[in-house]
Amino acid sequence: MNDKKLIITGVIIFIFILIFPFLYNLGGTTEFIDPVLSEKAKAAKFCVVPKEDMKVEHMQILDVWRDTVVRKGERVYVNSDGKKFTMSLSTGENSCLGCHNNKAEFCDRCHDYASVRPYCWDCHTDPKEIK
């Protein structure tokens, strides 16, 4: 019957779409290159909270920091060990970017890989980019 061809075409298209991710990656994928810790960060050894928590929680921490700074005017963060940090993303040597001074190799690497577009940079800038 003539509609069999049509049905087969439809099924082929459907399966093609379905397995497209496999086909696309047949040539092998580019391996993810881990973000690079700057010399300064390496030397510090410890961020504001442990690395594993930082990996998944940093967006919350930054958001709470923003609210605390903007609404309450407080600029000091105390972590569970009692250590104090300045709450700032990009201003000065004691800010996040002051330590992680390689945004492209540090922040962007993961964000780009996972297709995440934080709106930090709607307001903030990477101090390196200004000059």
């Binding site: 049905i7 994928t29 958001d63 993961c110 780009d112 890989y113």
Partner: protein, 345 residues
């Protein structure tokens, strides 16, 4: 307590538990993370093909569209081109509207007996909730599915980024030190999907008619999808997972060089296992309406049978009562009544 949904609920719960343990036990991670997902995809593809080709093998002996509007007849009568399609292009339009907009479901009415002064009146009101929920469910499911493509492409295609942008358009954030919702940014599709699935579930529970017709097979996929949505939402907004690690894992899967992610907990294994179960279950279930709707003869055929002959591939000859046999039996009476006959004796 309804045995049908309890049964499905218990099965899905057991599946969750099983895969959670599987994800937590290092020895089983390979099975739940790699072997089962691959197997599920293979079952889905071959199952889907065999089901559709099974339908394709069956003949379409008659052209039986359900005509839902005025036919094309006299030139001065306006035909309903979509609901009574006379041409192939009209059928395509009808099918697109059916598949993309759920046109038939859009017509849905609710019947109610109403007491009036002059007695009982049966009223039929437009009932749109099922259509809204169905549409919301299917489209958000699609968006969620497409959004997940970010795990399978590197770099992530621009169109997926656009989709993520619009899906994440509502920047709802509620962040206190106690409860934190909204980061990473809320994808509205996931929320609507869960709401729609819940509505469809509650409808099956609370509408007496729908409850009576529901089988375990109707609750099972709802619970599965609910489980998938809940674990996904949990991972994204609450328990948090190492997203980069997961993408490395999924990229490994699609490039046939799978490697288990490190430091990813049981919840992720529940998520991926439920998806695998859904995929493997799909071809042997009612979910095949995805393919079947394209082949429904009451919708995908032209309503022009009187103008263009449809050919039945198995048009068997049948025994008929011929005019000669008829005249032989009634000839005398026909002659007597003055009716013309072929053979006069």
């Amino acid at each position: 307590m309804n045995v049908n949904y309890m049964l499905s609920f218990i099965i899905v719960l057991a599946l969750c538990l099983l895969s959670y343990l599987g994800g937590e036990a290092p020895g089983l991670r390979y099975l739940f993370g790699i072997a089962i997902p691959y197997l599920a995809i293979v079952i889905f593809i071959f199952g889907f093909i065999s089901r559709v080709m099974g339908w394709a093998r069956s003949a379409v002996p008659f052209r039986i569209p359900t005509t839902c509007g005025q036919q094309k007849s006299l030139p001065w009568i306006k035909p309903n081109r979509i609901d009574n399609p006379f041409s192939k292009s009209a059928v395509i339009l009808r099918m697109i509207l059916e598949i993309v907009c759920f046109r038939s479901l859009f017509r849905n009415t609710r019947m109610a007996f109403k007491n009036t002064k002059t007695g009982m009146r049966i009223a039929y009101d437009w009932e749109i909730f099922l259509w809204v929920a169905a549409l919301a469910f299917h489209y958000t499911f699609l968006v969620v599915l497409l959004r997940h493509l970010r795990f399978f492409f590197d770099p992530v295609p621009f169109c997926i980024q656009i989709l993520e942008f619009f899906d994440g358009f509502l920047k709802i954030e509620f962040l206190s030190n106690v409860i934190q919702v909204g980061l990473p940014g809320i994808y509205i599709s996931g929320v609507i999907l869960l709401a729609a699935v819940t509505f469809l579930f509650l409808r099956r529970i609370f509408s007496p008619k729908v409850r009576y017709i529901s089988l375990p097979a109707d609750f099972f996929p709802l619970f599965l999808i609910m489980g998938i949505a809940i674990t996904g939402i949990m991972m994204r907004y609450f328990t948090k997972v190492d997203i980069v690690g997961i993408k490395e894992f999924t990229m490994g899967l699609v490039s046939f060089s799978p490697a288990l992610p490190e430091g990813v907990g049981g919840l992720f294994y529940v998520h991926i296992f439920l998806v695998s179960v859904l995929l493997a279950y799909f071809p042997s279930s009612k979910l095949m309406h995805l393919g079947g709707i394209f082949l429904s003869p009451t919708r995908n055929m032209t309503a022009d049978t009187r103008a263009t002959r449809h050919v039945n591939p198995w048009n068997h000859p049948v025994k008929v009562h011929t005019y000669e046999q008829y005249e032989d039996e009634f000839r005398e009476k026909m002659i007597e009544a003055g009716l013309p006959v072929e053979k006069k004796e």
